[in-house]
Symmetry: C2
């Protein structure tokens, strides 16, 4: 498994708070920014801006995701790299489930 998102990319992922049930992250990617490979547990993503990104898994498969500001989605536990494929900063809240 790849390293934790906050350890691998502390410039992109910041911990807002954590308790025994969740860890909540603020995530920001500038336009064109791409992370190194990292891991997430099961996570609810809440888009604070248009969130248009490409996820690349360890085996090279890619998935394009797009959420409008104010939308939410569920991402199952996985390792991936993320690239902001839009033209402006993307920002979201990640609710990581324990």
């Amino acid at each position: 498994m790849a390293g934790d998102a906050v350890s691998v990319a502390p410039d992109l992922y910041k911990v807002l708070f954590e308790n025994d049930r969740v860890r909540v992250l603020d995530v920001r990617y500038g336009p064109g920014v791409k992370s190194d490979m990292h891991s997430h547990p099961d996570t609810v993503v809440v888009a604070l801006t248009l969130l248009k990104a490409k996820f690349t898994s360890a085996d090279g498969q890619t998935v394009d995701i797009e959420l409008q500001a104010g939308e939410a989605g569920f991402v199952e536990a996985q390792d991936h790299m993320v690239e902001n494929t839009g033209t402006s900063e993307i920002r979201g809240i990640l609710v990581q489930l324990k």
Copy 2:
């Protein structure tokens, strides 16, 4: 225990999606709007607007909460009434934990 938020106030709480780990709600209160008593499980609140509200519990105790847009907080399982004490619509995403 009071009834589920979505059952008690379907005009204020809408289900975005649900799986075996979470139920995710969109919540909107117009200025001055007050709900009836309802229940929530442990919940992460993500504020999409300035979120200024008063929670009143069954025993009459009140708590004022304020989150800026883009902030998140944790609300432990409880019954309460909610009043939008601000002057504009408040909007948020609730990640209800199972």
